[in-house]
Symmetry: C2
């Protein structure tokens, strides 16, 4: 494929950043991938695994050379990273990110640059696993997945086009969305389920029959709770970054749970059946719909 960027700096070489690095290299979309992070042991492993071409322990050295800078750190760390790299960035360097929340990334850019820079293209790939770390990264992570970009009115058309081409080049399907809409949709589909899964596993792990509870867990339980194995630091950041939208949907969920629990309490069969059927119909429609994710 056509080379889109000569030098790419990936800041944070974990599951997400590492998988993008692998995929960009595999598809020949970039000439050199330089990795950087706070953890140089991790960077050495990334070079050994051929995820990146080389690393710089000093983030400013890595960022200074780059034509594309990919922010792949937890969303709560983005502002500090931007402060560090701002003085050294090439004027035409394109800036992008992989964060699960977009308003707080835009805010971080405004705090550091006074505005979201024209060359910044914020993005969020709807992909991932409950694993974390560079060892879990793989070049196919984004194949067939959706990536949401949230361009603003001032976003440079060329930068947007190149970031779009990059994601298409690694096999993803690119969609554009308003920042606020992105954050609401993700609060519902991703952040709420994580909060619920963490809370529910906590509940069970505190019970007296904890041993038997986990021993007799069926396959459904394991699927249902898989996301509670996600990285706590990353999810702490996401929950705080998207606090308002998340708490809104948590509150709606609590109302529905109360309604259902009350119906069970009083034995209102009609109401319980109607809630279960409504949910089943909605859930069944996901798998039958024309969705990229299977």
């Amino acid at each position: 494929m056509k080379t889109l960027f000569d030098k790419v700096c990936v800041i944070g070489v974990g599951l997400m950043g590492g998988s993008l690095a692998r995929a960009m290299k595999k598809q020949g979309l970039v000439k050199t991938v330089i990795g950087t992070s706070r953890n140089s042991e991790n960077l050495q492993q990334a070079v050994k695994l051929n995820v990146i071409d080389r690393f710089e322990a000093d983030m400013t050295i890595a960022a200074a050379e780059a034509d594309l800078i990919v922010l792949a750190v937890p969303v709560g760390a983005v502002e500090n990273v931007l402060q560090l790299i701002k003085p050294v960035m090439k004027p035409n360097a394109v800036l992008t990110d992989l964060g699960s929340t977009k308003q707080n990334i835009a805010d971080a850019m405004r705090n550091v640059f006074g505005e979201v820079p024209d060359n910044a293209v914020l993005g969020h790939p709807i992909a991932g696993t409950e694993q974390s770390g560079v060892a879990a990264s793989f070049a196919e992570l984004y194949e067939g997945r959706r990536i949401i970009l949230t361009p603003l009115v001032n976003t440079n058309a060329d930068a947007l086009e190149k970031v779009t081409a990059l994601w298409q080049g690694v096999g993803a399907q690119v969609m554009n969305m308003e920042i606020s809409h992105h954050d609401e949709v993700l609060a519902a589909t991703s952040h709420l389920p994580h909060v619920i899964a963490y809370a529910m596993v906590s509940t069970l792990a505190k019970m007296n029959d904890k041993q038997d509870i986990f021993k007799y867990a069926a396959g459904g339980f394991k699927d249902f709770t898989r996301i509670a194995s996600s990285d706590p630091t990353m999810w702490l950041d996401i929950c705080l970054a998207n606090k308002d939208a998340l708490l809104d949907v948590v509150s709606l969920f609590k109302d529905d749970l109360d309604e259902l629990a009350n119906a069970i309490e009083v034995g209102d069969k009609k109401k319980i059946h109607s809630m279960f059927s409504f949910a089943k119909t909605a859930r069944d429609a996901i798998t039958s719909a024309d969705n990229v994710d299977k």
Copy 2:
């Protein structure tokens, strides 16, 4: 394998009953499987798919011949079925069930027979899929899965031994448990997750951005909500049958969710991180533990 029963009557030939019928036949554990249910179209399909040897639309005819009667109907329908078959059952016929709740099955037996009969061996296989119906049944459903039996002091040793051998013969791992303990453990690991999944999918399906919410759902969301595709009638029955244990654990979960939402509201990073880490540690331990289910 050694034949354990000559004639088996399976009442309710859906995913669970159908899979057991297929497995018993495949392993040569029984001579003849007679299916019966309220739905004769379903029974015709079961014969066509070779799930059962023959069917009787009249439940009393099927039950009258049987050496083993398997109750594979929704738990709320068991008492009516028992009333119907009581007058025709052979004195030595063994009675077993596949229900997800055990106290209410024992209660149904006491209501019909005055006590849980000596030849009754109540059981609950920890297996299943979100599918339902005989077409979804398969002989391997119980292989490598746990089956919990809840024998009582008066349970006939020979009946218990034969039901145990039957489950082992279809590849399941048999465990014995107290009825009340079973119901508590299952409320936590199975009934609570179903209630939460149904409520959460309802919440999302009522939101204005419903279209986008389901469109941008990632793989994690699909795993998390898979159980909301389960059969509403079956789960209505289970929730009511195990109401007390279920509502207890729903209440504990609500407390934990509130605690977490409050921590997010006030930005208590330490508390959020500690709850997430606690849950992750507990969840990670499931997959690393010596569990039968993978």
